[in-house]
Each structure stands twice: as C-alpha cells, then as structure tokens.
C-alpha cells in the first residue's frame, strides 16, 4: 500500500505491507533506529513516538494508519533542540545506563513538560508509568525530569 506522511519535517512516500507497524517502518524503511522495540505489544514504552502531536506506542500503530500523518521521532526531537536540556539533565543525573528505554522516556517526559509548569514527582511518575526502565530504578529519571521542569519554569 502506498502511503505519504511527514517524518521529522520531511515528506516520505513509501510502499508498505499493511502488517508493518510504524516502528518497523521507521527503523527498516527509513533507518531511524532511535525508536526501540521492546515488547511489541504496548507494555514497555520503548517505541514511544509522536503522531500528529500526541505520543503513541509506535508498535500499536500500523504504518498504513499513519498515512497523511505527522510523525516525530527521537531523532527529530534531538535535531531540533526541543529536548536538549532534558537530554543534558538525563546525562547529569545518570538517568540512563543501557539506553534502551531512553528515547521513549525522553519523548514521554517531554509530553508532560510541554504542558508547562512544574509537575509534582507523583505526576511525573504517573506520566512515565507506561515506560519500563530495567537499569536505573527510575529515581534518577524522575530527578532529571523534575530538574528540567524547574529550570524551564525559572
């Protein structure tokens, strides 16, 4: 099936099988390997991306469903500088170790931060509750997100 979509600001035309989900499409057709596949059934959050401005599970959206849509991946959010401060905070706080969950964590955290204000630690935990991290124990991630929120509000 032919689809046309916008990925990180660039128009993409592609021919995909209906069963190809969005993350396989991004990784294998477009070589955008920052979106990770963990569980592939919506539990782990490693594949979190933005579709039409809202975060989604990339493994739970078919590429054909994104026809006409606007996709933003961790590569796009990095290149535009939108999350540069959040990324620096992750580094400063050791909020990553193996890095597998990090792209999804960053996109999910930014989804909360872009609404403005300084969310409580409880609200940060709740917003990230759909993203698994097996290295950090989460504490440092919450620290990094909270620090970024405070710095942006200052």
């Amino acid at each position: 099936m032919n689809i046309t979509l916008t990925v990180n600001g660039a128009r993409v035309d592609a021919d995909v099988l209906p069963r190809t989900h969005l993350v396989d499409f991004l990784r294998e057709h477009l070589a955008l390997t920052g979106s990770h596949l963990g569980c592939e059934h919506g539990v782990c959050g490693a594949c979190t991306i933005r579709l039409d401005g809202q975060i989604v599970r990339g493994c739970l959206v078919l590429a054909v469903q994104a026809d006409g849509g606007v996709v933003e991946t961790i590569e796009g959010l990095s290149d535009t500088g939108e999350i540069a401060d959040l990324q620096q905070a992750f580094i400063a706080r050791n909020a990553l170790q193996c890095g597998y969950c990090t792209p999804g964590m960053l996109i999910a955290a930014q989804d909360l931060l872009r609404h403005g204000g300084v969310p409580t630690r409880e609200a940060i935990r709740e917003h990230l509750s759909g993203n698994y991290c097996r290295c950090t124990g989460y504490q440092a991630i919450i620290d990094a997100v909270e620090a970024t929120a405070k710095a942006r509000a200052a």
Partner: protein, 284 residues
Amino acid sequence: MKASAFDYVRPTTLAEAMSLLARHGGAAKLLAGGQSLLPALNLRLSAPELLIDISRLDTLRGISTTATTLRIGALSRHAEVLASPIIAAHAPLLASALAHVAHPAIRSRGTFGGSLANADPAAELPACVLALAARLIAQGPNGERSIPAQDFFTGLFATALADDEILTAVEIDLTPGAVHGFRELSRRSGDYALVGLAAHGHRQGEGFTDLRLAYFAVGTRATLAPRAAAAVMAGSLEAAAAALAQDLEPHDDLQANAATRLHLARVLLRLVVSDMSSARKDAA
C-alpha cells in the same frame, strides 16, 4: 512478534464500512484505535484476513448533549473523553475511570467504542456503562438498534453485537445531582485491574437510591452486583458485603485467586460507598 499478513481497507463512509463488513463477515476485523487489536495481532492471538479501518469515519466521533441525554461517539478517543468538559459535567464517572486506563500514549489512540466492543473483562469502560445504565447504539444492515448496557456484555470478549453490526455511539440519560465512585486495585499504575468497581447513584439523607454497582476484572465480564446494591440502599454494608458472594463469580488467575478477588471486591465496596457518601454531586 510480528503480525501475520492481512489486507487493509479504509472506508470513508459508514455505509461503505457496513458493506465491507457484510461481504467479509468473520474474516474481517474492525480497526478503531487498535490499542487492543494490535497487541492481539502482534502476539498472533488474532489473525484476520482483512482489517477494516473505521478510524476516520468522522460521523462516529464527538461528544454532545441534548436536554435529557449525553451521546458519546464510538470513535471518541480516551484522551478526548478524559479531557471533555461535557463529560466532566455530566458523566464524571467516565473521567475518573479513564485516568486508570493504560497510559497517555495509549489513551491518545484507544477509543471509547473500541473498548466496549472488545469487552475485555478487566477493562474499566464496560463496568462504567453498566453503572450508568447506558444504551449502546449499533448500526446493522437493517438499521440502527439500541442495546441496554446490561444486555450488551454476554461473556468473555463477547457482546450482543452481530458480525455485521458496528457500535456507533453510546447514550446516557442525564442524571443531575447524582454521585459516583470509582476505584480499582492493580499492581502498577495503568495495568489491568485485579478488581475494580464503578458505581453510580443518588444520595438520599444518609443513604442512596438508584444505586448501581458494576464490578470488573471479577469473572468473565463486567458485572452488576444488584443484591449488594439493594443491601447498601437498605442501609447495611455488612449485608452488602455478604451479598457479593451471590452477585459475583470471581475467577482464579496468576495474579489472584477467587477468594482474594472476593475479598478485594468487599474492600472496594466499603471504600467506594464511603467515597460516595461524601462525594460532590454531578452538575445539573
């Protein structure tokens, strides 16, 4: 895992979707938000020949009210319902429940009607429509019909919808001054509940009238607990807790056995009734 191969079609009108469904019947699956269907496809628990993507049928979208009725289009996304001022005013039970449905990245895609038609026994929304005595509107080849919520959920992932019917909307009578309660117990925020309870009624003096208690994640489908509700309305929480043994058919699974589930159902009963005794009343 990867889904097995299927064909995909995206009708642009409800009539076109109906005719596709009539032509392909059981070999086809409707795709709305896909947040339950895609996992099932990826895990190969489901392998339809054709997906009929109805997600862009705008006539199935939208939340509105008349003088007496709230109407929620089947394709309204969880995030939309959760944020809707109309829902906050007229059916705040739904917003309370949706805060427990999965996570933001799933609520942005999952749909109200999709969750109901999927009829997962551990899902929140089937219990909510039972508690609200909603009517589910189905479109079939011979027109539209209205199915009372209590007749809709027929078993494990089974509903009263025929193979050639599409759930298009849910209607709920406005009940000014009502109170609601919602609680669930789960191991992790956003996980499926171990046990959950959605409740709706009116407060009268120290007690309640028109109280409906709807449990989920207890047994094969969302279930009303009429004997327990009657006992609460008669003023006895003790009798209500005891009656849950007759109202519910709790199941065993890896997370909890039936006895634990019945115990937790009683814990939730006391908590929710207590919540509702002090809850703010819904808008007029």
